[in-house]
């Protein structure tokens, strides 16, 4: 498969999975909050592509895209969302806390900003292990950068020249509050203040360009480790949490959405959609069947792993 097709395939898988979740959600089989990645799949597959399983990723409650793009398994994920013993974490984590240690995905946190410091810790461990050149990715929304810990970790990452890439997904919203109400700064200038290299990817839909730039950066970083911030301009199609559109709520406009949607390769590229949709749908349906037919989390799990 050509590179573009490969990226497209991965992104389409995430899109179709999220759409499946929307479809089954009203049946009440996923009895927990979901923060869907719809609209924000493209750049995630592009930046996961050059990473190895030893390169580590931390992310947030909006973790479906990262989980799948980093190599996570559909069946395990759906079983987790369905609260089943066969799920990633035996049903204990649900949608907000996906992880996949064997692929280098650590625990996702529902506490905004929590992973910044986990990430510098990981990057520090990577740095002092001179036998490898693995790196850490820390993926959050732009809202999370308002937590003081963001700046504290920038300082430390820069001081110690840690092999860390901060990916800031700027979708302009934190829950329902627009960025203008929350931020007086730009990430670019903050990066500068801490002597950290900054890149901006203006269009999250441009999978190839992002993949290209990012892959080069990763290769370079593995030779000369240093902290980097990448801000990616993107758009959240649905409400913050849940499965609905919320353009009637008055805090953003349908026009805004349409401007993105009209350019969305996962909608426009009918050839590739046609080529892969059926196969992906089948995989998803298999995973749904697996989840449905798995037993619920066993009762004794309640007190297992407590210490």
């Amino acid at each position: 498969m050509q590179l573009y097709e490969k990226l497209f395939y991965e992104a389409l898988k995430i899109r179709l999975l999220e759409e499946k979740i929307i479809e089954v959600y009203p049946e009440d089989k996923v009895e927990s909050p979901v923060h869907l990645s719809i609209g924000q799949e493209h750049h995630i597959v592009s930046i996961m592509e050059p990473l190895t399983n030893k390169d580590i990723v931390f992310t947030t409650y909006r973790s479906h895209a990262v989980y799948l793009a980093k190599g996570g398994d559909l069946k395990l994920m759906l079983a987790e969302l369905y609260g089943k013993q066969s799920g990633i974490s035996k049903g204990k984590s649900g949608s907000m806390h996906l992880c996949s240690p064997e692929h280098g995905m650590m625990g996702s946190s529902a506490i905004v900003g929590a992973i910044y410091s986990h990430s510098i810790g990981m990057a520090y461990a990577q740095k002092i292990d001179t036998s490898t050149n693995n790196i850490t990715l820390c993926i959050t929304g732009e809202g999370a950068t308002e937590e003081g810990v963001f700046c504290e970790t920038l300082n430390f990452a820069s001081l110690k020249q840690l092999p860390i890439i901060y990916i800031i997904e700027n979708n302009g919203l934190a829950i329902n509050i627009p960025i203008e109400v929350r931020q007086s700064y730009t990430i670019e200038k903050l990066a500068k203040a801490y002597n950290i290299e900054y890149h901006s990817y203006e269009d999250s839909f441009d999978m190839l360009t992002i993949n290209n730039k990012f892959s080069k950066l990763v290769t370079d970083m593995k030779k000369s480790p240093r902290p980097i911030i990448i801000e990616i301009h993107t758009y959240r199609y649905l409400e913050h949490v849940g499965i609905s559109m919320d353009y009637d709520k008055g805090y953003r406009t349908l026009n805004e959405y349409e401007a993105w949607y009209k350019r969305d390769p996962l909608v426009l590229n009918e050839t590739l959609i046609k080529r892969y949709k059926n196969k992906i749908i089948k995989d998803i349906d298999d995973a749904i069947n697996f989840a449905e037919n798995s037993p619920s989390s066993f009762k004794d799990e309640l007190l297992t792993d407590v210490y």
Partner: protein
């Protein structure tokens, strides 16, 4: 119908009252001005009172808590709201090292009145970091006043009082599932002049239940349920203020009944039950005729899977069984709530938050 008030509207009334009656009050937090308006409790307030007094904040809980300390020293009355109590953990330093200590450390030269409202998430897969009941953590600290209003009346009276009269930081835990609960508007169980005080919800002679937050409502349900089948006289006390419980009220009740159930929303160890045991043991070791019963969350992190979540929380059945056990010493031939009766409210709650 006019006699009914739902919990969130009672809170909204108190927020409106705060802005109207205390010109120094400000209300802020993440989501305070969005269309959800903290489950409706701050809806429309920015429009009516302006964005100097009602505003959203950056996602900076720690800073915005220190801000409350400074604003309070500067003469404002901050009301800081968190849509999940779990986010209070980012504010512990300011709450415990500064807010709680300001008056005392400086020999009473300062005071830092403020109200922190924080919502306890429950049910529907809120999971590890969106469901915690942290009252005992804060109640442990001298200098903090911790309340858990269990009814519309409690919430409205406590908040109005806090805003107008109380000169200490108050942390209030609101239970997410209470927001749509209906209450009698004319209820008058709370002492106007001392609304944080623990109070009698139901009077009885056989068993004392000391409960917090939504467990008060569960206790009332358990008592109603049992009254259909058995003649057991149950006394229910709402602890109301976890940090400043009314020891006399509680001990007198236990002296009368000799049988005690403590029903809290949190973990058992080092919790409300432990605190009430302390009260008893320091006063009169012979007060209890039977070992007490403690209800709370299982000693684990909150799991997301429904099946496990259901095991994790105490429910109506646990209460009913505890009551039978204390009263009869057996469950034989006793009517126990069905699955539907237990999960009704948890089933019907569908979030998304």
């Amino acid at each position: 119908m006019n006699d009914i008030i739902i919990y969130k509207n009672a809170i909204k009334n108190s927020m409106h009252y705060a802005l109207e009656k205390n010109k120094n009050s400000i209300i802020y937090g993440i989501g305070v001005t969005d269309y959800i308006g903290i489950f409706g409790t701050t809806e429309g307030l920015e429009q009516e009172f302006g964005s100097d007094r009602v505003f959203d904040t950056p996602i900076s809980e720690d800073a915005m808590t220190g801000f409350a300390v400074g604003a309070s020293l500067g003469g404002l009355y901050p009301i800081h709201i968190h849509i999940r109590a779990d986010f209070l953990l980012l504010t512990m330093n300011q709450l415990i090292n500064s807010a709680a200590k300001y008056r005392y450390t400086y020999g009473g030269l300062f005071q830092t009145p403020m109200l922190i409202r924080a919502v306890i998430g429950r049910s529907w897969g809120q999971g590890a970091q969106h469901s915690q009941s942290l009252q005992s953590l804060f109640a442990h600290i001298p200098g903090l006043t911790v309340i858990m209003p269990s009814s519309a009346e409690a919430a409205e009276k406590c908040y109005k009082y806090a805003v107008m009269h109380y000169k200490n930081p108050v942390i209030s835990f609101e239970h997410r599932l209470l927001y749509d609960y209906k209450f009698n508007k004319n209820s008058s169980l709370i002492d106007q002049n001392n609304p944080f005080d623990s109070y009698l919800v139901e009077e009885g002679n056989d068993i004392t239940i000391v409960a917090s937050s939504i467990m008060v409502q569960e206790a009332i349900k358990a008592s109603d349920y049992i009254s259909k089948y058995e003649n057991i006289s149950i006394e229910i006390i709402d602890i109301n203020s976890v940090s400043h419980p009314n020891q006399t009220l509680i001990l007198n009740s236990i002296r009368k009944t000799g049988k005690l159930i403590v029903a809290d929303t949190s973990w058992l160890s080092h919790g409300l039950g432990a605190e009430i045991s302390r009260m008893i043991l320091e006063t009169d070791v012979t007060l209890l005729k039977k070992p007490m019963k403690n209800l709370g969350m299982a000693q684990a992190t909150c799991p997301t899977a429904k099946k496990l979540e259901y095991e994790f929380y105490p429910n109506l059945k646990d209460l009913v069984v505890s009551i039978y056990d204390l009263h009869f010493g057996t469950l034989k031939g006793k009517k126990i709530p069905s699955e539907e009766e237990i999960v009704y409210q948890y089933k019907y709650f569908k979030g998304p938050f």
